[in-house]
């Protein structure tokens, strides 16, 4: 391996690592607030990428149907609850978010041609389609189990992952897609060039990490999420709704996931099931952070990206074997250094 290749691999690794870092932050966030190990994270990555690619290809993205369907089911569930508890005041909000909003999106997308829109508008539209699926998923799958043990939540999480992979196949088909590159700019330093896409990925990740940091440190909602993460009962007694906290954390995670997908869409061909392995690598980062520390998780994720990149050079067939086998010593180290309190079932 010469220096050029080493640098190229490094660039690859850092690009992927930045994505894994974003995902690991979302995973830490969701776990801390809801105790859900968020396996379906990868599906948001795939949905974000595939939605953008659909727009550019002039197709109607399958996520639109998913949003309409999920909204419909949530509306029914929530209306039944509202009817049982005689809380009529909630009805307008339920209808607005779950039926009217998806219908408006459908009207917008079907009446205009998103392929002719500028890139930024396409990205916003993709996010507007994918992100609301996060809170809807929380409502349907996790909210009824909010007090269940972590292991039950994990199995549900895996189940939801399967449902989304299957739906991804239904709505996007088995072929992969790739989006157009954000920019053709490249930065040349001597013989080595950094692509514009790499810069976009790394910069976006950096900005997003700072924004999240500010959100958790400064804003009231950020503090509410932190409070819920530290002590659910205590937060509740202070008037913080755990349902709100759960939905908000899923909203953020879905947003981060979809944005990550949009960032990688021009770099790699994304299939309906690509997200899972990407999400799991974000996991390795999150686990290095003990599912608790944001900065350590981010550093760990970048390390995973680099490791993957270099091992694809030395033993490309065994890339996944190497990356996933390395989780085990990491897990071992983590579980030896954290004191485990027996969970009463």
């Amino acid at each position: 391996m010469d220096l050029q290749i080493a640098l190229l691999l490094g660039q690859d690794g850092i690009t992927n690592g930045a994505i894994y870092a974003l995902l690991s932050l979302a995973l830490v966030l969701v776990f801390a607030v809801t105790r859900v190990i968020f396996i379906p994270q990868g599906e948001f990555v795939a949905f974000g990428a595939l939605t953008l690619a659909s727009f550019q290809a002039g197709k109607t993205p399958g996520t639109l149907w998913l949003l309409l369907g999920a909204g419909f089911v949530v509306a029914i569930v929530d209306l039944v609850v509202a009817w049982r508890r005689r809380k009529w005041r909630r009805v307008p909000a339920i209808l607005g978010w779950n039926l009217v909003y998806p219908a408006l999106m459908a009207g917008l997308i079907l009446s205009i041609e998103p392929s002719k829109w500028p890139l930024l508008a396409q990205i916003s539209l993709a996010l507007a389609l994918v992100v609301p699926l996060g809170p809807m998923m929380y409502r349907l799958a996790f909210q009824p189990l909010a007090e269940a043990p972590v292991l039950v939540l994990l199995i549900v999480s895996v189940a939801v992952h399967l449902v989304l992979v299957g739906l991804g196949l239904v709505f996007f088909g088995a072929e992969g897609s790739r989006a157009a590159s954000f920019s053709d700019v490249s930065l040349d330093i001597g013989e080595f060039s950094i692509t514009g896409q790499t810069l976009a990925v790394v910069l976006t990740s950096g900005v997003l990490i700072v924004v999240l940091y500010q959100f958790f440190g400064r804003s009231l909602y950020g503090k509410a999420l932190r409070a819920t993460a530290i002590n659910r009962t205590g937060a509740r007694l202070m008037g913080i709704s755990t349902v709100m906290a759960g939905k908000l954390s899923f909203l953020l995670a879905a947003g981060i996931g979809a944005l990550s997908g949009i960032l990688i869409a021009p770099i790699t061909t994304v299939y309906y099931d690509t997200g899972f392995l990407i999400g799991l690598k974000g996991f390795v980062g999150a686990i290095i952070g003990g599912l608790a520390s944001y900065p350590v998780a981010a550093v760990g994720a970048v390390a995973v990206g680099l490791l993957e990149s270099y091992s694809s050079f030395y033993a490309s067939a065994f890339k996944e074997v190497i990356v996933f086998t390395l989780i085990i010593p990491m897990l071992l180290w983590r579980s030896l250094t954290t004191r485990h309190v027996e969970e009463e079932s």
Partner: protein, 586 residues
């Protein structure tokens, strides 16, 4: 109909099925049997032991590939390769188990996902295993000179193996080792204090589950006579877990029900959904996922408990066996010094929970440790029983220092305890809970338990447990679920469990709390008799009437320090004690 007849009817149906059913249904039953064997391992591992694994498909793959490789390349007999596959699986499982079973809580399932993926990619990338295309031409299994060539012949082999595994698992769960395994879910601290090696129990069930999966893999390759990596991926591993959960992970029959439901559903959906969506693909996962979420939200115990309501299959034993007495662990003589605590200090950060505490207990003596709330009594108990070691100082038990030993080793030396916050296994019967206390008085291992060769010892253990249950006055509740008892009765159950180990020293943490007046008197009477037999008893208690009427000597603690020691009457007159309890001499 008795449970025995239901089982007999089921076995008849299983035996007759291939004679009347078409090829298609026999094949389906074969796959149900293969999956049920893996799901059975998960019932033991996840449903009973509380350890979630998404990676069982990888063990199926190990058994399958080992046999496929050895049988094709070296032309070994499939029976030899079965053994080889089990050895390979056992080695890998022990290695993975050694690493991942230390993982606490949710880290373990994440670990199983990791090695599940890792092994899958390994199968697909190793040249000598045929890569992603796989290996073909795997020889048939012959049994007593008869070649099992088609699915109908193989059917019997699969179902005999499965039913055998069900029998072994059920036997194991109904034994001393089985109680230790059942304690893994929510009772680790208690089980360790009763002398159970919980780390070993975890490894054992992990190994058994892996071996069941490996045998299923062996059956699979010799039925298919072809192997590639697809059936050993993570998604199949997840499917096995779904089978166990949907069927009912707490029961061995749940595995069979779950495997049946999921396999039939999969077959049906794989025909239906591609037509519906107009494309091919694994659309059935959508339905499985939704089914799983609904099951966990609405019926977390799975389908089997619902089914078994309609069948007379509840066969809980209602008879206490008559059996030989167990050997005594401790024999008492004179007033030998049993426990000596010397200058024990325990710090939690800046908080001094115990400061230079000393006390001693002799055989045939009741020593009471009293003091206001937060005085450090329970911390003292934890230092003595090895739940949490002291920061400095020494604890001698029967003349030997036990500082640094864990709770299990201390229990082995003849100390037993109850907990301030009751720790028992609510779903198990009273007698079974108490029998956990007698764990150290039995010796027969896993193999004997699986084959039920340890019935004599098991009967002695249960008879001993029953004696202790009677002794504390819970005879009428012998076969009730422990969780259904009132709090005071649960405390008595803890006393019985501690007594079942035949200890030299009994540590009781607030045994009289929540007891009614007559129950308290009965408990005091029992403790007096135990003392007269020569047992040493150390108790923490707030009920002064109970303490003063029972204790031979009293130690009073306040703010982690000893402020008084002596006979009950002396202590009651001690100005420092009056100061601590009443805030000054009246």
């Amino acid at each position: 109909m008795t449970p025995r007849r239901v089982l007999a009817l089921f076995l008849c149906l299983v035996a007759l099925a291939p004679l009347v059913l078409s090829e298609f249904y026999v094949t389906l039953l074969n796959y149900i049997g293969l999956s049920a064997l893996v799901a059975l391992g998960l019932v033991l591992l996840t449903g009973v032991g509380g350890l979630t694994s998404f990676g069982q498909a990888a063990f199926v793959g190990l058994g399958a590939y080992t046999s496929a490789y050895l049988a094709t390349v070296f032309a070994l007999s499939p029976w030899l390769t079965l053994a080889a596959g089990m050895v390979v699986t056992a080695v890998v499982a022990l290695l993975l188990g050694w690493m991942t079973l230390r993982l606490s809580g949710h880290y373990l399932p994440l670990g199983t996902i990791a090695w599940g993926i890792s092994l899958y990619f390994l199968f697909g990338n190793l040249e000598f295993l045929g890569g992603h295309t796989g290996l073909g031409g795997i020889p048939v299994v012959s049994l007593l000179g008869f070649e099992l060539k088609d699915g109908r012949d193989f059917y019997f082999l699969i179902w005999v193996v499965l039913l055998g595994a069900v029998w072994l698992t059920q036997n194991l769960l109904d034994s001393r080792e089985g109680r230790a395994i059942r304690a893994l879910k929510g009772g680790v601290l208690m089980a360790e204090a009763m002398g159970v090696d919980t780390a070993r129990s975890k490894i054992v069930i992990f190994l058994i589950a892996a071996l069941f999966a490996s045998v299923s893999g062996w059956l699979y390759v010799h039925l298919q006579r072809f192997v590639n990596p697809t059936p050993f991926g993570l998604h199949i591993g997840i499917e096995y877990l779904f089978m166990a959960v949907v069927g009912g992970a707490a029961s061995v029959w749940g595995a069979v029900v779950g495997a049946g439901v999921i396999t039939v559903l999969k077959q049906w959906l794989q025909d239906l959904l591609p037509q519906l969506f107009g494309a091919s693909g694994n659309f059935e996962v959508i339905v499985f996922g939704v089914l799983m979420v609904v099951v966990l939200q609405r019926a977390r115990e799975g389908l089997w408990p619902m089914l078994s309501q309609w069948m007379p299959v509840h066969s809980s034993r209602r008879q206490v066996p008559i059996a030989d007495f167990l050997n005594k662990q401790c024999s008492f003589g004179g007033s030998e010094l049993i426990l000596e605590v010397r200058d024990v200090t325990k710090r939690f950060g800046g908080l001094m929970a115990n400061n230079q505490m000393s006390l001693s207990v002799r055989a045939g003596e009741v020593m009471a440790l009293i003091g206001p709330n937060g005085a450090g009594k329970s911390t003292m108990f934890n230092c003595i029983s090895g739940v949490d070691g002291p920061t400095s100082g020494d604890v001698f038990f029967r003349g030997v220092s036990i500082v640094g030993l864990d709770a299990r080793r201390i229990a082995r030396r003849g100390m037993s305890r109850t907990f301030q916050h009751v720790r028992l296994l609510p779903a198990m019967t009273v007698i079974e809970n108490v029998a956990i206390g007698a764990h150290l008085r039995g010796h027969r291992g896993i193999t004997a338990s699986m084959l039920h060769l340890e019935r004599a010892e098991e009967n002695s253990l249960l008879a001993e447990a029953a004696r202790q249950v009677e002794r504390v006055g819970l005879k009428d509740f012998m076969f009730e679920a422990a969780g259904s008892l009132a709090l005071g009765q649960q405390r008595l159950l803890e006393v019985a469990r501690a007594l079942a180990s035949n200890p030299c020293l009994l540590l009781l943490d607030e045994p009289a709390a929540g007891l009614r007046y007559l129950e308290k008197q009965a408990l005091a009477e029992l403790l007096r008799r135990l003392r007269d037999d020569g047992m040493a008893i150390l108790l923490v208690e707030h009920d002064m009437d109970f303490v003063m009427g029972l204790a031979d000597r009293v130690v009073v603690m306040e703010f982690g320090e000893k402020i008084a020691e002596g006979l009950p009457e002396e202590v009651q007159r001690n100005p420092a004690v009056l100061q601590a309890y009443l805030g000054g001499v009246a």
